[in-house]
């Protein structure tokens, strides 16, 4: 299980290949990557603040729960902090399992929890100023489906 919280850019393709190479027993590999949208040119960039002492712990707990719940052979989470430009990859998750349904469900679970339970906060910069991104009710609601 690889978990990295980093300011530096990373190469999602190279990460995916390294992750898949370690998953020969698995069969099914799902990845998600989040890209900074350009909002049709209106967004000049974002910055991501985080809580260093908590971030790794929180992500580790979420990933460990995914591995156990879907019997994953492996999981990967990389999340950047600091300043990012439109088009840059913010974060990625990957999951490996014997069957595709488990790999998909675990990746969605990881994303839902990272959105609302890992201590990151996004600020968007526009030509006319900056503002903190508000959490969406739909992100909080998404957690409901994993209960029980």
């Amino acid at each position: 299980m690889k978990i990295s919280v980093q300011a530096d850019a990373f190469d999602p393709g190279a990460e995916l290949n390294a992750f898949s190479a370690g998953a020969a027993g698995a069969g099914a590999v799902v990845s998600f990557s989040g890209v900074v949208r350009d909002e049709g040119g209106r967004l000049s960039g974002i910055s991501i603040e985080h809580y260093p002492a908590m971030t790794g712990k929180a992500i580790g707990a979420i990933a460990a729960e995914a591995v156990e719940r879907w019997d994953l052979s492996d999981a990967l989470v990389i999340h950047r902090h600091g300043d990012l430009a439109p088009g840059e990859v913010i974060m990625m998750v990957a999951t490996a399992a014997r069957h595709r349904a488990a790999a998909f469900a675990a990746a969605e679970f990881l994303m839902d929890y990272l959105k609302s339970r890992a201590p990151f906060w996004k600020k968007e910069y526009h030509a006319d100023g900056a503002e903190w991104v508000a959490a969406k009710d739909s992100d909080e609601d998404a957690l409901g489906r994993w209960a029980g």
Partner: protein, 82 residues
């Protein structure tokens, strides 16, 4: 003495990312009341508690949680990772 951390717009409103606080509060809610009573900037930051989350020693908690034995309290808005 307890270490108190602020993130995102809570940090901006309060003006510091962290501070050491002398408190006799028994719960998170009590600590927030003490802070609000201190200065306008705290009152502003904690005006809408529905938009504030708290972690005790890096674990999510709620405002009724006891502070006994806690070394680090963090206040922040709902998280927006991913």
């Amino acid at each position: 003495m307890i270490e108190v951390l602020y993130f995102a717009w809570l940090r901006e409103r309060i003006g510091v990312p962290r501070e050491r606080v002398e408190t006799r509060a028994e719960t998170v809610a009590g600590l927030v009341e003490e802070l609000i009573a201190r200065e306008e900037r705290y009152a502003l930051a904690f005006a809408d508690l529905a938009s504030v989350r708290v972690a005790l020693d890096q674990e999510l908690a709620d405002f009724q949680a006891p502070l006994a034995g806690v070394r680090e309290v963090a206040f922040f808005p709902p998280m927006t990772g991913g």
